[in-house]
């Protein structure tokens, strides 16, 4: 049976893993290569490395970090943050990434999705969508540029367009829940997942085992991504997977 994936995310700046709350307040969490290997050994199904600085001068550091992290990682490895052109994507693939995640550029230049998909296949292209509730209602507006720029566009419509342009997966982050551990936004995840044929990775708000059970059962997520709970606790990946298994969610366990 196809299992639900648990994805460990490493937010990286200047070669170090950091974690913020609602896109702010960063704290140091360690070395990317070491953490990626530790998460893989602990039972993560995939690793995502997001370059959250993504400024021009830091690109060289990123490529080196990707190469170092990929070297001893034998599970799927995605790299995102600051990928604005096919050349940027190629550099990351060459350094050992299996997939790229594109965010702002997918909205500024939607044809980029197709260009990368044509060269590397759709399975290698993840479009990351950051969305926020509008006035607390079940409407979700897409933001770009690290959550700083509102686009006025609807998350469900954007995800569908990304799929049509060749995205192989959608990484959907609830900005309201990011880093809070208060649970995923299941309503947002369900709205996007229902309308799509490609898998949806839920992100933002992952906390206790219940929150993961909910996002798979009621949010219809195909995968769930979290960062700080795996770096700082409260529970290990193994505990989480055992908990999911007892709740009847198919997961890869033991690994």
């Amino acid at each position: 049976m196809l299992t639900k994936r648990i994805i460990a995310c490493l937010d990286v700046t200047a070669g170090r893993v950091v974690k913020g709350v609602q896109f702010q307040e960063l704290r140091d969490a360690g070395d990317p290569a070491e953490l990626a290997a530790a998460h893989s050994n602990a039972g993560a199904d995939e690793v995502v490395l997001l370059d959250i600085s993504a400024t021009h001068e830091k690109r060289a550091t990123l490529i080196d970090t990707v190469r170092r992290t990929a070297r001893s990682l034998f599970i799927p490895f995605t790299v995102g943050g600051g990928i604005r052109s096919l050349d940027d994507a190629m550099a990351v693939f060459d350094a050992g990434a299996d997939k790229v995640s594109i965010n702002s550029a997918a909205f500024a230049d939607p044809a980029l999705i197709t260009r990368i998909a044509e060269r590397y296949g759709s399975q290698a292209v993840i479009v990351a969508i950051d969305a926020k509730r509008v006035n607390g209602q079940a409407r979700f507006e897409v933001y770009t540029n690290g959550g700083r720029r509102p686009t006025g566009r609807d998350a469900v419509a954007c995800a569908l367009e990304a799929e049509q342009r060749g995205a192989g997966e959608i990484l959907l982050t609830s900005m309201d829940r990011d880093g809070t551990g208060a649970g995923f936004d299941c309503e947002l995840t369900r709205a996007v997942s229902q309308g799509l044929n490609v898998p949806v990775i839920a992100s933002g708000g992952g906390g206790d085992t219940r929150s993961f059970v909910d996002v798979f059962q009621s949010g219809l997520a195909d995968a769930a991504l979290a960062a700080s709970i795996f770096h700082f606790g409260p529970h290990s990946l193994g505990d989480l997977k055992r908990g999911l298994q007892s709740a009847g969610i198919p997961v890869r366990w033991p690994c």
């Binding site: 049976m1 196809l2 299992t3 639900k4 994936r5 893989s40 199904d45 990929a70 070297r71 001893s72 034998f74 599970i75 799927p76 693939f93 060459d94 050992g96 299996d98 590397y120 296949g121 759709s122 399975q123 290698a124 192989g168 997966e169 799509l196 044929n197 490609v198 898998p199 195909d222 995968a223 890869r252 690994c255």
Partner: protein, 198 residues
């Protein structure tokens, strides 16, 4: 020496990284003459079936076929395994090697496609590829088309119906999943292939 055929498949780097980790002597090549003298051949693959068309143009197809007939072990991964069949709906104009009968088809519409993630396999006892791989282990898949179950299918997978997860017959081996991305169990399978003496 193992020849890993370079036809711009997306997972070439990952396959080489895994072989390097296993301490295997492997070279990346697009030269038919290197293929002609290789002890074993690995054809990686991920993406579109039409990508295999380049193998025909460059003379690699003929070199691979000749080396297979001489008995060299061959492993096709993902699209590389699909290419061992006759054809694929994904690219009707491209022909496969036809080592196994039947063509690859799209997943039915009642399941999401591509099939992405870790899925469990059932495999037959006596398979050389799966020797030492624990029963019920998971492998990582990412594909939109699937090969039919044939007599040589030593492993099957279930997603919108049963499909072929691995083939094994004589010196021919193919896997739909990505052993280079399937953690310790995937590495074990690659190691089994590399240690074969056919």
């Amino acid at each position: 020496m193992i020849a890993v055929v370079d036809y711009r498949a997306g997972n070439l780097t990952s396959v080489m990284k895994a072989l390097d980790h296993l301490g295997v002597n492997a070279v990346v090549t697009r030269d038919p003459e290197v293929v002609a003298t290789a002890d074993k051949i690995i054809l990686p693959g991920v993406g579109h079936f039409s990508g295999t068309a380049i193998l025909e143009k460059t003379g690699l197809r003929a070199a691979i076929m000749r080396r297979i007939e001489q008995g060299a072990p061959f492993l096709g991964i993902c699209v590389g395994m699909q290419w061992m069949f006759e054809s694929s709906e994904e690219a009707p104009a491209s022909r496969g090697l036809g080592l196994f009968s039947g063509g690859c088809e799209r997943f039915p519409e009642n399941v999401k496609s591509p099939h992405v993630g870790w899925n469990s396999l059932t495999w037959q006892n006596g398979s050389r590829l799966f020797q030492g791989v624990p029963s019920g282990a998971y492998m990582y898949f990412t594909h939109s088309y699937r090969a039919p179950v044939v007599a040589a299918s030593v492993a099957r997978c279930e997603y919108g119906g049963e499909f072929c997860a691995a083939v094994e017959q004589g010196n021919l081996f193919g896997v739909q999943f990505h052993p280079e991305k399937s953690g310790a169990t995937g590495l074990k399978l690659l190691e089994n292939f590399c240690r074969l003496s056919c």
